[in-house]
Symmetry: C2
Subunit: 346 residues, 2 copies
């Protein structure tokens, strides 16, 4: 279902439900049980290299655009003024699983700023990390905002806000930080913002085309330090993600596993509702995937397939197989089915 | 996208990914973020009353067909020989959440048979019930097979197996119980079995068309006690589900909530991978829904919409709104979006 080298200004309806292509399938007992449709785009500096479905589909990048949301952290000089290192920058781009590691590092970050968990605006949720979740239950403790998968991003937000002397309600769409992120999003996507929604962590999220998101990722991939403020910021964020895959997500998670499999050839980031992006610095390539129905398993299979296609990972690597072609097992560990990337993606 | 009164023998491809129609949408900030496609069929004793998508699509009913899998329990005489009541029959049709209530009742059922949890073949998994899950963690206990959402069905399987003097490996596709279920499935669906897969609980699951599943539910809806073995068995199972919605799923779950909202007008049952069925005894109507991508939120919205359409529930009932048109809130309880049934379903 490859759309080939479609032009960036293709017409037609930009609703996400227009023109979606088969993306991933669940097979059980030799019968196709479920199918996910979606869109995917590969871009380089010149535009679309290859596309599936409708590259013009307007989407919310959700957490896949955290590296865009982190640009003001570096570009305002806040990161350097506060002495942030690669670990901080990786956490600013993270959807982490609230493991002890993540809670400890984001807590220390806030303490170094003279702030506390109460200054965050992301809300609290149970950590996805099993050890930490069970520890909280055994200890009779409630999860705090540091456990929120976005707490690193919000630590970055607070760092900028403090450095600039801006007000505490940093997730308000009219807050200078969010206005700066909105502007940066339009710039790196190379298009107008198509809408705004509120994300799970209460921050604004800006709707852009999937092509715009892939173009933004290609810009991150092409960026080099020393080539101006924007490129330096982009390159540092990509470098930090690649250096600390365990901070960007966590053990057993797709982002961490795929980045480990890529061994420096790609930074990848998931977002809610079936979004996944990849940045391939060596090739100057950006990739963006959206499963129409928001299905994580489909987005993971598709991004894994595209990373294989682009030579960033090996299809036989167990870390890749787990996303590309996972065997489904039941509670007695019997094999019951498998996820397959749809034929057009293979 | 209503296909209208399509004939039962419609041609065309029966793969589930053929002819799916928009089913449910996620809206955020005024932008369509995600869309689920799917199929739905309403049947009465004469056949299809109304359909969306492809009624001939071959699907795995998964747990939505537990009332079919429970037919041998009554038809062999095992239920009466063991003195089973409506609670047992509701549990046999259940995908429960492993709450203390469910664990206690299935455990006692096995004890009454002189059997134990070790005789089950469903496997163990963490209960969905939060209180029981956290109790296990605090107590340092592992979940057992009674916590498996299918443990009631398996208690029913063991009851038949013991009564008939059949062997212990009751989930083997060649076991007399599974052969009986296969035969019953074809009979109530009014069609040949199209395939077999292994379910999450290790039992065989038989692929049939969505239309066949709706036809089967219509047969359950039309069944009356005293009208022969099959009809009596069907009517007793439907009556038990309606009498004990809390045993069929559990607090906060869709099946339990929708059955409470229906106040006796419908029995409903979910299945993995976006399947949902409804049985409306007063109207002799059966309904079957399959979300193409397996999305639970889409199947729940669609079955709620069809129950409203058929007058079985009120659209304004909070128990219905929660599935039909749920508001999405983030970790700070801010409203971020909503699920809407696709226009063709409204």
């Amino acid at each position: 279902m490859a759309a080939g080298k479609a032009g960036p200004d293709r017409g037609g309806d930009r609703r996400v439900d227009r023109g979606a292509a088969p993306m991933a399938e669940l097979w059980r007992g030799g019968v196709l049980e479920s199918t996910h449709l979606g869109h995917a785009v590969i871009c380089d500096a010149k535009g679309i290299v290859e596309a599936w479905g409708n590259p013009g589909a307007v989407i919310f990048p959700r957490s896949s655009c955290k590296m865009i949301q982190a640009l003001p952290l570096i570009e305002t000089g806040a990161a350097d003024a506060r002495g942030l290192g690669a670990e901080h920058l990786a956490l600013a781009c993270a959807s982490h699983q609230g493991a002890a590691l993540h809670v400890e590092k984001t807590g220390r970050w806030l303490a170094d700023l003279g702030l506390s968990e109460a200054d965050l605006r992301c809300g609290a949720h149970e950590p996805d990390d099993r050890d930490e979740r069970e520890r909280l239950i055994r200890a009779g403790e409630r999860p705090c905002q540091l456990h929120n998968n976005c707490s690193g991003k919000h630590c970055g937000f607070l760092t900028v806000t403090q450095h600039q002397g801006w007000g505490p309600d940093y997730v308000d769409p009219g807050h200078p930080l969010q206005l700066a992120i909105r502007e940066a999003t339009g710039e790196v996507a190379g298009e107008e913002i198509s809408g705004m929604g509120i994300d799970g962590c209460s921050a604004p999220n800006f709707a852009i085309s999937l092509e715009g998101l892939a173009r933004a990722m290609a810009a991150f991939a092409a960026a080099r330090e020393g080539q101006g403020v924007r490129q330096s910021a982009m390159a540092r964020l990509v470098g930090a993600m690649i250096l600390h895959p365990e901070l960007v997500a966590g053990e057993k998670r797709a982002c961490t596993g795929l980045m480990r499999a890529a061994q420096g050839r790609a930074a990848v980031k998931t977002g809610a509702e079936g979004v996944f992006v990849a940045i391939l610095p060596g090739q100057g390539i950006g990739v963006a995937v959206k499963a129409l129905d928001g299905g994580t398993r489909a987005a993971e299979a598709a991004i894994a397939a595209l990373l294989v296609r682009l030579g960033a990972v090996e299809a036989a690597d167990p870390l890749v197989v787990k996303r590309l072609n996972p065997v489904q097992r039941n509670w007695r560990r019997l094999e019951t089915g498998e996820i397959r990337v749809a034929p057009g993606f293979r």
